[in-house]
Symmetry: C2
Subunit: 353 residues, 2 copies
């Protein structure tokens, strides 16, 4: 049973309602920017940490304690459901996920295992512990979107150009859609396990979607990301949809069923809101969008940017302050704490709904 957090600023803003303060959290807030995280991870590989209920609970809590952010984000990795289902994938240091047997043929796709809920029991256990510990702070669940999972599977690892993935979608569209349908089902199973354990919201993270034109996104990706949002709609929690470099895709990513669309630093939030409300649609709720690289600049630079972004966010129906991508490992965590204090001191915008 889910906690009643109806006054939580993050959840109010995500639903386009008026929060008592402007909510803020940071993508990758749980991670390498924190010395207490680096200590916990010493000698523990990434995927082991993601499947250890105690460890993922503690890692998820660290930035909430330190920064006073308005939401916790489940510490996980995009490939966790693949690994849980039995796919041979490792996270190689300095490289990223490496899939031993890339998925490229009909037989590869048919042999891709399904994810069963009990295979992510450790994650669900972490979520249950977290909702017990978090008090009034909402917990955002997390899953990688089907396209990003597909790219790792087809390429066999991180890819700059996604050429095998794009060639497959165009040359064998039926096979592509079969693969994507399986991955959408997997994401739904993973998210439903988190929701059943008490997660208060979800973020569907499509890291690589920005590599696609809107045309290809709508044809090859949108139906499957829509299936993910539809598959969790009965939980009634806000869904966030984010990818980097997605200026051309924002309306389509909203149409997938997202309540909140994350925007990177390339598109100002007022322009993002304009694009997503074109054609007479309701103003959207946006999340973003401080360039994480600027955390390495001086405080007056950060302060000016935060003020500008909050002003631009007032054009939307709601604004969840965040970075435009994940916290970089070299970021100074004290700057993140100052940003939280600054954002909390600013007046939340009027809702547009």
């Amino acid at each position: 049973m889910r906690r009643d957090l109806s006054d939580a600023p993050f959840l109010l803003a995500a639903r386009g309602r008026q929060p008592s303060r402007l909510p803020v959290w940071f993508m990758r807030q749980a991670g390498r920017s924190l010395p207490e995280y680096r200590r916990l991870r010493t000698g523990v590989d990434m995927l082991s940490a993601c499947f250890d209920a105690d460890l993922l609970t503690e890692i998820t809590l660290q930035p909430v304690r330190r920064h006073g952010v308005d939401a916790a984000i489940l510490f996980s990795d995009i490939v966790v459901p693949l690994r849980a289902a039995g796919v041979d994938v490792e996270i190689s240091s300095g490289v990223g996920p490496v899939v031993r047997s890339p998925v490229r043929t009909a037989s590869d796709v048919d042999q891709l295992p399904e994810l069963h809920t009990e295979q992510v029991d450790a994650v669900a256990g972490g979520v249950r512990a977290l909702v017990g510990e978090l008090g009034g702070t909402p917990l955002i669940g997390f899953a990688g979107a089907p396209f990003t999972l597909a790219s790792y599977l087809v390429e066999g690892g991180p890819s700059k150009n996604h050429e095998r993935t794009k060639a497959l979608m165009h040359a064998e569209p039926e096979l592509w859609h079969r693969l994507m349908d399986r991955l959408a089902t997997m994401a739904v199973t993973f998210l439903r396990a988190q929701l059943a354990a008490g997660a208060d919201a979800v973020q569907l993270f499509d890291s690589w979607a920005g590599a696609l034109s809107e045309r290809d996104y709508r044809r090859f990706v949108l139906p499957h990301s829509s299936k993910v949002f539809a598959g969790i709609a009965d939980a009634g929690v806000p869904g966030i949809h984010f990818g980097v470099g997605t200026g051309e895709l924002l309306p389509a990513m909203r149409e997938a069923g997202a309540d909140v669309v994350g925007v990177d630093w390339r598109v100002p939030l007022d322009e993002a809101a304009r694009r997503m409300s074109a054609g007479g649609r309701d103003a959207p709720v946006v999340q973003g969008n401080l360039d994480p690289a600027l955390l390495l600049a001086s405080w007056p630079v950060v302060e000016d940017e935060v003020h500008r972004i909050v002003e631009e966010g007032r054009a939307a129906a709601g604004h969840v302050f965040n970075l435009g991508h994940g916290v970089l490992p070299d970021a100074d965590p004290t700057v993140l704490t100052r940003i939280v204090e600054l954002v909390h001191g600013l007046r939340p915008g009027p809702t547009g709904r």
Copy 2:
């Protein structure tokens, strides 16, 4: 003295005039996709090849002979003028350019050497040989734009997030502008050497500009890229301006003084033309924009994409067919040749001017 190529389809299209056929060339057409290139490069490192007049001439000619493209692009590398001026930079295999002493302080910037024309005599010699060999095919000169050079210098090598570069521009804008001014001067010197030797057009390649918001691009980059175009304007040759992921920047990149704006595959050419002619400006000439990843798909996929792109290009004042980024090393060169034949069989669009 420059050749008179007033009927060359590439030059006519680049000037917004009606060519006899739709011109086509490919970014990175001279390079690893060609077995004859890989043979020539055996045992020769990249920068040595760029400073060997005979070798760069032959490498530049290879794709013209093989594919029958409408323009040659000078075989070079973005860091060639830096290396020529005396900066300690190597191209490390599988990594990219590595700068031994990154440029981050006022003293680093002041010690950055100037480029003197005679330091690129080998390149100029190659250009002279090329214009003798190329017959009626125009030669496009090449330089990296100041921002991309600055990123390599500040980061010390290729960077995913450009965090030190962005931190420097925001935190120390005066120092940033001094660095960029020096790099713009260097690009002008390099391009003027190529133009004096007979190049018929130039492409200013800003690989990483797409990492910036339009706001930051206009403040920190546009004045310097404008200086490059202004510094070669008296040559009267068409200037192409390209970066990847620049959907938000297209109007600004045109304003820098470009005659032709290259567009990647994320933005359809008709939409790109619309963005650049907003506010009552003339329709632009565009270059692009087949996704290079699709060269790995089957021919019918490529054929459909080429037809679509040529149709969309008719919305512009001129269209130079190209990829939306460079040829990938795994691309099959016979597909490139077929694309040239296909494009040449299609009706060039009416000019919008």
